[in-house]
């Protein structure tokens, strides 16, 4: 199975561990990931504004590049996934806006990027690795690759916002009661914790402009995970991972409100269960080090 792969900015910097474990896992499951050449930022939340052209430029370039590799573009960061999938829907459904963007790009004639024949009609489908695992690979096949079952490890799945919402446009899973990560965690042998805060927002980019508000959002989630006795949290979003990791480190330093609940990417846990060497896992990049917990669990 061959997929075009768009890592996104954070996977090349602070979420390197996410990128490297995803590539490792994909190889184990015979998924060929072809990274887009010279990719740029997808625009983050900016394409969501109602501006007619500007916001669609970055996503359409990524999607058009992907179409030369595969009819499916896979990505991992919740922000990128949300942005690309929704921009693609606009391109598919809004012929007027699509034509405006295409005409504009033809006019720019940036060498090697857009020429007078540039065309993109929305035919690539944007998928998340979780979707690929569920719909194409199957969790039974994942289970068969597990060499180090995570039996008895209490894991809380944390979805955050953009992986699931808005449900009409994203449609990955039920927006309030998603199960895709639960199914994956069960395949890895974990004991899945029923986590009431699993679709709550972590405070997102407010960590930059209103850190005190983001801190409160993250603290609510962390206290809940700690109270229900989760040993690990798993996420799909580099920003959620950073917010929960950062806030947790500060809470652990300053008061006894919570017990440590290291925050991992789901691919790190998969790689761990599927027998990856420690250097692949990237645990050393975490602020709240998962290694003591993992060792204590006998893994």
């Amino acid at each position: 199975m061959r997929l075009a792969y768009y890592p996104g900015c954070t996977l090349a910097s602070k979420a390197k561990a996410f990128d490297q474990t995803a590539r490792w896992v994909a190889q184990k499951l015979d998924i060929e990931l072809v990274e887009l050449p010279e990719w740029q930022c997808c625009g983050g939340l900016v394409p969501q504004v109602t501006d007619a052209v500007m916001g669609l430029l970055a996503p359409i370039r990524i999607l058009a590049d992907a179409q030369t590799i595969s009819d499916k573009l896979m990505t991992l960061c919740s922000f990128c996934y949300n942005t690309l999938k929704r921009a693609n829907l606009v391109i598919q459904q809004d012929a007027e806006r699509r034509q405006k963007v295409v005409d504009f790009l033809r006019e720019t004639r940036a060498p090697k990027v857009f020429d007078e024949n540039f065309q993109y009609d929305g035919s690539v489908s944007v998928v998340h690795l979780l979707e690929v695992l569920r719909d194409d690979i199957g969790f039974d096949n994942v289970r068969q690759k597990v060499v180090r079952p995570l039996t008895g490890v209490r894991v809380a799945p944390y979805y955050g916002c953009l992986l699931l919402r808005p449900p009409k446009e994203i449609g990955l899973d039920d927006p309030e009661e998603p199960t895709v990560m639960e199914q994956l965690l069960e395949a890895l042998g974990c004991e899945v914790v029923d986590f009431p805060r699993k679709v709550e927002c972590c405070g997102s980019f407010m960590i930059v402009n209103r850190p005190e508000i983001a801190a409160q959002c993250s603290a609510t989630i962390l206290k809940s995970a700690s109270q229900i006795g989760a040993q690990l949290l798993v996420t799909t979003c580099p920003l959620c991972q950073f917010n929960l990791d950062w806030q947790q480190m500060r809470m652990l330093e300053s008061n006894g409100e919570i017990t440590p609940v290291p925050v991992l990417y789901f691919t790190q846990l998969m790689a761990l269960a599927m027998g990856a060497e420690p250097f692949v896992l990237g645990f050393e990049h975490h602020l709240v080090d998962p290694r003591p917990a993992v060792m204590e669990l006998g893994l």
Binding site: L45, V46, T50, A110, G160, P166, P211, W246, H285, H286
Partner: protein, 196 residues
């Protein structure tokens, strides 16, 4: 049905017509037209406010923003801090029983506030400008200069100064930016004259 007491009849207001001024009506219509969302369908159930992760920090809660839009209270809405605190997590949008998309309405209100130069929250505007400049320069987000630029422009000189060294030590920050800026600069240059 129970008969209303004299007191209840005298004090009830729910049957009174609400008369909007021309200006108020225009504001409501503009928000509905630009967002494509039927804000007038909101019946104040409060689900958006209940689920909003940042409602606790807002000066006007999301459901009250919807009500003020219905009543054409443009200035109060556009000058509110609330519209700049919305992070677009889409919880309200997912839960609205009237299938209104309040997150999109918030987006529209931010655009309108910027046009009227009402930005009540300097920080978030500064952050988005710094974010776009950063992508324009490097093609991908390069966090060290993004944070530096944001701090210089916002005046919070030492904010996140504690994060930098730790992030470097943890191998989370790249030392050099990506070299893909050329393509993105071309797009931005072409946009320069015709930004919509």
């Amino acid at each position: 049905m129970k008969q209303a007491t004299e007191r209840e009849q005298l004090t009830r207001t729910d049957e009174l017509p609400i008369v909007l001024t021309e200006e108020a009506r225009k504001f409501t219509e503009e928000v509905i037209r630009r967002s494509g969302e039927r804000v007038d369908w909101c019946y104040q159930c409060g689900k958006c406010t209940a689920g909003c992760p940042v409602a606790f920090a807002m000066d006007i809660e999301p459901s009250r923003i919807m009500r003020l839009v219905q009543l054409g209270q443009g200035e109060r809405v556009l000058k509110s801090k609330a519209i700049w605190l919305c992070v677009g997590c889409q919880t309200c949008t997912t839960r609205c029983p009237q299938e209104i998309d309040p997150a999109k309405v918030m987006d529209t209100l931010r655009e309108m506030a910027l046009e009227k130069e009402f930005a009540a929250d300097k920080e978030v505007v500064t952050f988005f400008r710094s974010f776009l400049d950063n992508i324009q320069r490097y093609g991908r987000v390069f966090e060290p200069t993004l944070v530096l630029q944001y701090n210089l422009r916002s005046g919070h000189l030492l904010q996140d100064a504690d994060k930098g060294p730790l992030m470097l030590f943890k191998g989370k920050l790249p030392l050099r930016p990506s070299r893909n800026g050329a393509i993105v600069r071309k797009i931005f240059d072409a946009l320069g004259g015709r930004r919509q």
